[in-house]
Amino acid sequence: MPKLIESTNDFVVRFANVNGSGSASANALFAKSILRMGVPIAARNIFPSNIQGLPTWYEVRISGAGWLGRRGGCDLMVAMNPQTWDKDVASIDPGGYLFYDSTRPIPPSKFRDDVHVVGVPLTEICNARYTDARQRQLFKNIIYVGALAQLLGIELGAVEKLIGEQFKGKDKLIEPNVEALRAGHDWAAANLAPIGLKVRRADAVGDRILVEGNNAAALGAVYGGATVCAWYPITPSTSMAEAFQRWCRRFRVDPETKKNRFAILQAEDELASIGMVIGAAWNGARAFTCTSGPGVSLMQEFIGLSYFAEIPAVIFDIQRAGPSTGMPTRTQQCDILAAAYASHGDTKHVLLFPEDPRECFEFGAAAFDLADRLQTTVFVMSDLDIGMNEWLCRPFEWDDKRRLDRGKVMTYEDLEAGREFGRYLDVDGDGIPYRTYPGTHPTKGSFFTRGTSRDRYARYTEEGGPYVDNMQRLLRKFETAKRLVPGPVRRDASEPTRYGVIYFGSTSPAMAEALAALEQRGLHLDAMRVRAFPFSDEVIDFVLGHDQVFLVEQNRDAQLKSLLVNEGAIDPARIISVLHYDGTPITARFIIDEIAERMAALNVVPLKKAVP
């Protein structure tokens, strides 16, 4: 038997459950109670394409140091699913712990010698108290939360307070839940020896919030002034449309008339969703759709139209592996190229890469200003990891002085005053023309919207000259976009270095941890988090300013690298890809191993010895 793992405020608990058994809310209760003790957590679902019956996992990383990426490994397995028992037991780190329902005997061969076993007769405790089958199932989950709380030193008061908040308004559910919690807790106190893993109250959470990216992005859309949402269900984006509906019911119902200041339509498919968005945006409303890779594939033709007809549209792409079902409930950053160059003809599109739910909110609102300002499609490139997991992040902020930027729109007064209107006329030299909303003026400012066959005054023409003129202006507009999109975030190493690393999106927390660990080993890297496409000059300069730059991505084909090499005319040999694409969120361990190994191969001598 190896030495048992001993750790306070730094370990990973994995729950193995059966989908649809009500475990999700119990597991969330467990996670949030730790947060209430001032200890940061990162919680992730690993779930199947299934509503009921298949295995599902929930992983909680407790990190007093505040590392919020997925760590990898497992110190305590809560094995509640017989179907996956063998795999679950095998996945525990040596010296770790196995928590299981000991009501029915399990043959010794099913355990491991190097893992400490904690058996709690959950079914027995449960069945002694409840007779109803559904109650038995639900309360069994709460009972194990109680037992774990006792085992790990989670304050019962914190859990009880959360139960009270959760069932506020359904108060009669509070007492039975608290009783179940105590039943587990008391049994553990009476029968179990302490283990090496402990949660100790700390003050490391601050004012941070715990929220899902899709929920945050939907709130961002509300603050961004979106009034029209057209969508088609697809995992992992569906919860964003549902959240938008919830936020709208809360914030967008006229208090007097009880009528809605929003219109949400579940379309018949993604083609219709984006068509509706484009129709609404053409007509002056802020509109969006939320989807995932396959949806973006279906929308291609319309995305091209929005580019050429210069119609603001916002698309939230909650990326996932694909196609089909199965892997699509796993995360990836695999739509970068599909979105950047979406559609037929010469097109490119603005992409934003939020790193967490906080930025989903920020970019979710900013995307509408950008789309209106640039009169084009803007993608918010979230992913399943951010979108469908609750992340601990800085609270949302809003400046009440901020106003919606509707971009260059000519009003009735402008037209009446005799301002010259040419729908595709570049009056300011930034490539962005003025537009009018339909119905503005009886005799001035109307125009016919079509794809490319038009002159500067939106009159039909098939001539080459006006076409090239227009295409060149669109390029100027894309140059303007570089100045308007969120800039990259640079963090230099503590020592001067010839090595850099670029990353984006949900890789952020794992990268932060990896950078700290690499620095500990004396491997110094300047880091840059890319937040948007088109890339600003800073990004290109960063690559050119280092001998080698690692580019960390969660896809197979190094898509951001391709984009960077192509758009920045960069020698591909300068960039070394670090690619993680098995569907699980990238870990710090993975990044550290990959970069350390490559740097060794590049003969980088650590500036100081690794800390043992």
Partner: protein
């Protein structure tokens, strides 16, 4: 090919409507369709209807897909915003536009390829949602811009110009529209202006999903013997169930009607549609019987035209969505952005 502006000169004594506009003010640029194309007659009928209803042209949004028919919005209502969108996807663009601003009149123009083939799904879904619009299909049974392939409304057994026989069963858009819940359904013929203009007027006044299937012969590729969408064929097989006049506001009956042959239907906005019955028992407010009647006549080889169905009290998408009266595109910051205090509450609940 570049646009051709229409000269603005007109006879000084051209009649004006209540807004002081002449018919010419409702025109667009010069049509580039083939001489004699049925679609140009439909454009003329749209111009006539908008003029007669005294509509401010800029309060109409005209949207189309791709195809000969979808080119026509350039040829009428030059002071309206227009949108030549994607093949078969006009309905979704129109739906979105309508969501953004409920105050404009939406005129969707499409063809049989655009609506019955590539766009059948969107055609169906925008009707079942009750989008307040006038949806006109300029139906010639053939792909004109790509030179004469059959479309999905071509009758089985009809012959192409090159002699090929269509073996696929036709899609009947009128039958579909009735089944899908359109609240105004009509069929007409581009060669019958007297019937078509009042139908378009009535459809514009209708506050719901109005669909008009207009048989519009293609003179270049589908106007030969053996075609069932030719001028001659349609004239021979046309069976009009009624003739209508549109009255706003209620005006006294000036025309002479034989007793029992006129029926008035009041629309929600107070306008009156006066139907002169041509088929004895035809009741255009009975959807199920309308469907049965159409099926019967179709089996007999006749093409039923006229106002086929009307729900005088329609509901539309905005009713279903319970949206505010003010157009969504006119809502300002104060009505849309909840502000920092609300956000502080949101944050507090997420801790």
């Amino acid at each position: 090919m570049t646009y051709i502006a229409k000269p603005k000169f007109h006879h000084p004594k051209l009649p004006t409507n209540k807004l002081g506009y002449t018919r010419r003010d409702y025109e667009g640029s010069v049509s580039t369709l083939c001489a004699g194309c049925g679609h140009d007659s439909i454009s003329a009928a749209i111009i006539e209807a908008c003029f007669a209803l005294d509509l401010p042209p800029h309060r109409i949004a005209k949207l189309s897909g791709i195809g000969c028919s979808s080119k026509t919005p350039t040829y009428f209502l030059g002071h309206s915003h227009g949108f030549n969108s994607v093949h078969g996807r006009m309905p979704s663009v129109l739906t979105g536009a309508n969501m953004a601003n409920r105050d404009l009149i939406y005129l969707g123009v499409s063809g049989d390829g655009d609506s019955a083939s590539i766009g059948l799904g969107q055609f169906a879904h925008c009707l079942r949602r009750g989008v307040n619009m006038v949806y006109i299909v300029e139906n010639n049974g053939v792909y004109g811009l790509t030179k004469g392939q059959f479309s999905a409304t071509a009758d089985r057994g009809s012959k192409s110009k090159r002699g090929a026989v269509n073996t696929d069963a036709p899609i009947d858009l009128v039958g579909l529209a009735l089944q899908l819940g359109a609240t105004f359904v009509a069929r007409s013929f581009s060669g019958d202006k007297a019937q078509l203009v009042p139908l378009i007027e009535a459809a514009i006044l209708h506050k719901g999903a109005a669909f008009i299937d207009v048989i519009s012969p293609c003179v270049a590729f589908n106007n030969h013997p053996g075609s069932t969408k030719s001028f001659d064929y349609v004239r021979e097989h046309n069976e009009a169930v009624n003739r209508l006049d549109v009255m706003i506001p209620r005006e006294p009956i000036t025309a002479e009607y034989a007793p029992g042959t006129v029926r008035e239907v009041a629309q929600h906005d107070g306008s009156i549609i006066r139907l002169r019955k041509l088929a004895e028992d035809y009741d255009p407010t009975d959807r199920l019987r309308a469907m049965a009647y159409l099926a019967e006549r179709q089996a007999a080889g006749e093409l039923v035209t006229g106002l086929l169905y009307l729900d005088p009290e329609p509901r539309d998408l905005h009713n279903y969505l319970n949206t505010v009266e003010k157009p969504l595109n006119a809502l300002g910051d104060a009505e849309l952005v909840p502000g920092s205090a609300a956000l502080a509450e949101v944050n507090a609940a997420l801790r």
